[in-house]
């Protein structure tokens, strides 16, 4: 009898355990979905607004979706010359920065990880210590320098610094990855008579693809989003990049504020970043787990 009672007890507790686990899981999903809504909502609101009429925008309301989607908002945007100009300026700058920075960063990371030379540790430590220097330290004098070069109101101040392996955190990330590749690869190639340049291009770079992808996506998002540098240096509507174009869209003098136009421009600005992010998100997450910084 006694044993039977304990057995029943046990099944009972197991059952409660089971339901508890279920309840916990349901609560967890509820919390996750609730939080996701909070994170996604501004984006959804942006898209919804971009399709509203100006009357709908002006009214106080909670409707996420427009009563009647106004695709003409986008027609208006796409017929605007300055929109295309800004878009191409952005694409142009991002491509050049990506090309220049990724190439130079990978060369430097290669030197810091695969080549043995006297004083490498010292130079590497100096590079890492630049991570501590806030960008403000060099912002002002760089402006003066570019001013003296007559580079204000040109793309140069934004693209050229990248060619000099800008970004210590990118070098660090790539170097960490290259350190992990087996040493025998270079040695075998060296015996075959390859010089370091060939080793870099034919052996290390193809193997470092995941890390190169990681730094590329960080760079892409960072450059595409960057508002401060274009504001400082471009100063001329013809040279505006997308961030500046979008920011200037909000003209506080207009009443009522044409939020639907601002949001349409915002949506077209955000789309490339979102697409890149969705397809490459594992690189972002790996990148942050490796270095702890966001680029």
């Amino acid at each position: 009898m006694a044993t039977q009672a304990t057995m029943m007890d046990m099944t009972n507790t197991q059952n409660t355990r089971h339901t508890m686990a279920h309840v916990r899981k349901i609560l967890l999903y509820a919390a996750l979905i609730g939080a996701s809504l909070f994170f996604l909502f501004p984006l959804a609101w942006m898209v919804g607004t971009s399709l509203k009429t100006i009357e709908e925008v002006g009214r106080s309301q909670l409707n996420l979706l427009p009563a009647d989607p106004q695709w003409t908002n986008y027609d208006k945007l796409f017929s605007d010359d300055s929109f295309y100009r800004a878009y191409f300026n952005s694409i142009f700058i991002v491509s050049l920065v990506l090309l220049g920075t990724v190439t130079s960063v990978s060369l430097v990371a290669f030197s810091f990880s695969r080549l043995e030379w006297k004083g490498r540790g010292l130079v590497f430590a100096a590079m890492m210590s630049t991570l501590m220097i806030p960008y403000q330290a060099t912002l002002v004098p760089q402006y003066v320098m570019f001013h003296q070069l007559h580079w204000i109101r040109t793309f140069n101040p934004i693209t050229i610094p990248g060619f000099f392996a800008g970004g210590a955190s990118l070098i660090f990330l790539l170097r960490q990855f290259m350190m992990g590749l087996p040493k025998e690869l270079d040695e075998a190639a060296m015996i075959d008579g390859a010089n370091p340049l060939q080793i870099w291009w034919y052996i290390i770079m193809p193997l470092s693809r995941p890390a190169v992808a990681t730094i590329s996506v960080f760079l892409f998002v960072g450059t595409w989003n960057n508002l401060m540098m274009p504001l400082i240096y471009l100063q001329k509507p013809a040279l505006y990049t997308m961030p500046v174009y979008v920011a200037q869209k909000l003209n506080l003098q207009e009443t009522p504020l044409p939020w639907q136009d601002v949001m349409a421009a915002s949506v077209s600005f955000v789309v490339p970043v979102l697409v890149v992010f969705i397809f490459t998100q594992r690189y972002f997450i790996e990148g942050i787990s490796t270095t702890g910084t966001k680029g």
Partner: protein, 654 residues
């Protein structure tokens, strides 16, 4: 036109590539040549050539874009350089303008720094809490967790650009914006939500109203003593309570260090501003510095060097400031007031730097401390009694008032109390007692307890007394102001917020009010705290499951498991997030740029934003450079401090 610009840029890019290749190879050859001179082997030379050539782009870039500009900006910061103007050396004028908090620039800088402080003290903890909650939600092995992780991280990608910030600006519209509308709907839906809604509005408005009062430098009267005294009382309370151990000693020591650094920087700033420094300060600095030196040297710590050099630098600054103000005559009384303590302290500090440590030296320095303390005490009594400084102490400790309403009516606004005592006196006292507490070892356990308890009682009484006097002061101020028909602007927004509770007519005004602008910025940073979340998530994954199981067997509750296992185990991640968060708070730019309205620009702006407007819109290069150097010093100090103090609470796995 833009096509031309792009073509130009391509040409420049090509030229840059050629330049980098040529200079890198040249650098490689140069280093190879130097290696040959130093007699390195052929193979070593070869390796050096390749290594330096490959690292060349960074090395060349470092000189052109980092080192050169940094030195140039240091130079500019001492000039009145404006683009298109000649450069004139003006010494520390820029720094003085910024740090004095006077004039348009100084006031703006002051406000921006206070805003950054607000973001760091209120924003960063909220951000970190949000990140930790998100990470703990994601730290579950269930289906679809990767998708949730992606969604949680996505705001980080978007928040770097202006588009989503504009969407937030629209959603946060005070009149019919989505956030307010939905909150109002919720509040009307269920009465509990209504209470929460009104409570939220009240807390935010009261907090920000108080903060705005401080930023606008409303006359705070005796409140300026209340806050430091109350903090000191709390500190001593935690020292007195419970068992005395190594942790308590460390607490006293750390407290003394932090306050010492604050006082040191304030003195440095005062020295730069070149206000006449009260000679009593030299005694305080001397006592504090020498106490620290003895303590550190007895423990054989290497940090003693920092204190020694720091004290010497401080003395030089004070001496220069004094020379700036006192007629430079060796025989003048004014000069000897500075000369005697300066010589005393400098000799003792310098002696401790040169001589080897033995018991005699410690005795000599201790004797110097005693002499300095005696002189300071004597100076305090006859010198200050007339102008009422000591009066402040006696009155507050007996809950009296130092208010004198008999004099003219503007009087209250200008000076209060009768003779304004700098609140830094309190810091000096606290540091002195803390060092005393930290110095006394087990042999003098009783003396230590008496000292800490005495300090606790002293500061508690002082805090209460000054608070009571503050009330008298506010009342008197109000009467005088109403009689004179002047506005009573004492924490007006704060008082409005308090009076409005629990009214139903208040709505969050977000970017349209100083009370709400900073909370809106913080809301957005909380929304995009996914980077911190990933750091926490990685740390949480590293906590061994067996620890939780063992704790569960021992009957630990969920909150015990969180505070006793999770938090200590992820403390390195926490530390990292705090460092990054505080630095980011100083550098916020995009949010301010997009959210600001003419009304809230001042209350939103961060130091980085002010730097941008001052330098690149108004083209004051010299001032901008000075501002950036102040920022750099603050950021570096914060980083170093956080690393140093992390040792006492961050647990790295063995």
């Amino acid at each position: 036109m833009e096509t031309q610009a792009r073509l130009d840029n391509l040409q420049w890019s090509l030229a840059t590539v050629v330049f980098i290749i040529v200079s890198s190879i040249a650098l490689g050859f140069l280093v190879q040549f130097l290696a040959r001179l130093r007699g390195l082997s052929k193979a070593e030379q070869r390796k050096l050539f390749w290594g330096v050539t490959f690292a060349g782009p960074w090395i060349v870039g470092f000189f052109i874009f980092v080192l050169g500009p940094a030195l140039a900006s240091l130079y500019y910061s001492f000039t009145d350089y404006q683009i298109g103007d000649s450069i004139n050396w003006i010494g520390v004028e820029n720094y003085r303008n910024l740090l004095s908090g006077e004039g348009r620039v100084g006031r703006n800088f002051n406000k921006a720094m206070l805003n950054s402080f607000y973001y760091a003290v209120i924003g960063v903890p909220l951000q970190i809490t949000a990140a930790l909650i998100m990470a703990m939600l994601l730290n579950n092995e269930i289906k679809g967790i990767r998708i949730f992780r992606m969604i949680f991280y996505m705001p980080v990608i978007l928040a770097g650009g202006p588009a989503i910030l504009l969407a937030w600006r629209y959603m946060l519209g005070s009149n019919g914006g989505f956030v307010n509308e939905s909150m109002r709907k919720m509040a009307g839906f269920f009465f509990v939500f209504d209470y929460i809604y009104r409570g939220f509005i009240f807390v935010v408005e009261a907090l920000n109203g108080f903060y705005t009062g401080i930023v606008h430098e409303d006359p705070v009267g005796p409140l300026k003593y209340t806050i430091p005294a109350a903090i000191a009382a709390l500190l001593f309370l935690s020292l007195v309570r419970g068992e005395w151990g190594e942790g308590k000693r460390l607490l006293a020591w750390r407290g003394a260090q932090i306050l010492g650094i604050i006082v040191f920087y304030s003195l440095l700033a005062q020295g730069l501003i070149a206000e006449p420094v009260d000679p009593s300060w030299i005694y305080v600095v001397g006592i504090v510095a020498l106490g620290m030196i003895v303590l550190l040297a007895r423990q054989g710590k290497r940090e003693v060097r920092y204190v020694q050099w720091g004290a010497l630098v401080g003395l030089v600054v004070i001496a220069l400031a004094a020379l700036n103000h006192v007629e430079f005559e060796f025989t003048s009384v004014a000069f000897t007031r500075y000369l005697i303590p300066l010589a005393l302290v400098a000799t003792a500090v310098g002696g401790s730097l040169i001589a080897t440590w033995d018991r005699h030296l410690i005795q000599i320095i201790t004797a110097t401390i005693v002499i300095l303390s005696v002189i300071l005490f004597v100076r305090l009594i006859p010198g200050q009694l007339d102008d009422g400084r000591l009066n402040v102490f006696t009155e507050y400790l007996t809950f009296g008032s130092t208010l004198d309403t008999t004099t003219d009516q503007d009087y209250l606004e200008k000076v209060y109390p009768v003779a304004s005592m700098s609140p830094f006196w309190i810091y000096g006292l606290v540091i002195a007692v803390l060092i005393g507490v930290a110095l006394l070892d087990e042999t003098y356990a009783r003396a230590r307890r008496y000292l800490a308890t005495g300090a606790l009682i002293f500061f508690a009484l002082f805090a209460i007394g000054s608070f009571l006097d503050a009330r008298t002061y506010f009342k008197a101020f109000e009467e005088i102001a109403t009689a004179a028909g002047k506005p009573v602007y004492h924490f007006a927004l704060f008082r409005q917020a308090i009076a409005a509770f629990p009214g139903s007519d208040r709505v969050p005004l977000w970017m349209n009010s100083e009370l709400w602008s900073k909370p809106s910025a913080i809301l957005i940073t909380m929304w995009s705290s996914g980077a911190g979340m990933l750091i926490f998530l990685a740390a949480l994954k590293g906590v061994p499951q067996s620890m939780y199981e063992a704790a569960e067997v021992d009957g630990a509750t969920a909150s015990q498991r969180f505070f006793k296992i999770t938090l200590p185990m992820i403390s390195p991640a926490m530390f990292y997030n705090i460092v990054i968060g505080v630095i980011a708070a100083l550098q916020t730019f995009e949010i301010v740029y997009i959210l600001q309205t003419p009304l809230t620009r001042d209350s939103l702006q961060s130091a980085a934003f002010l730097l941008y407007t001052r330098t690149f819109s108004e083209l004051h290069i010299g001032e901008g450079a000075a501002m950036s150097w102040i920022l750099v010093v603050i950021i570096l100090t914060l980083t170093v401090l956080q690393f140093r103090f992390s040792r006492s609470w961050v647990h790295y796995e063995a």
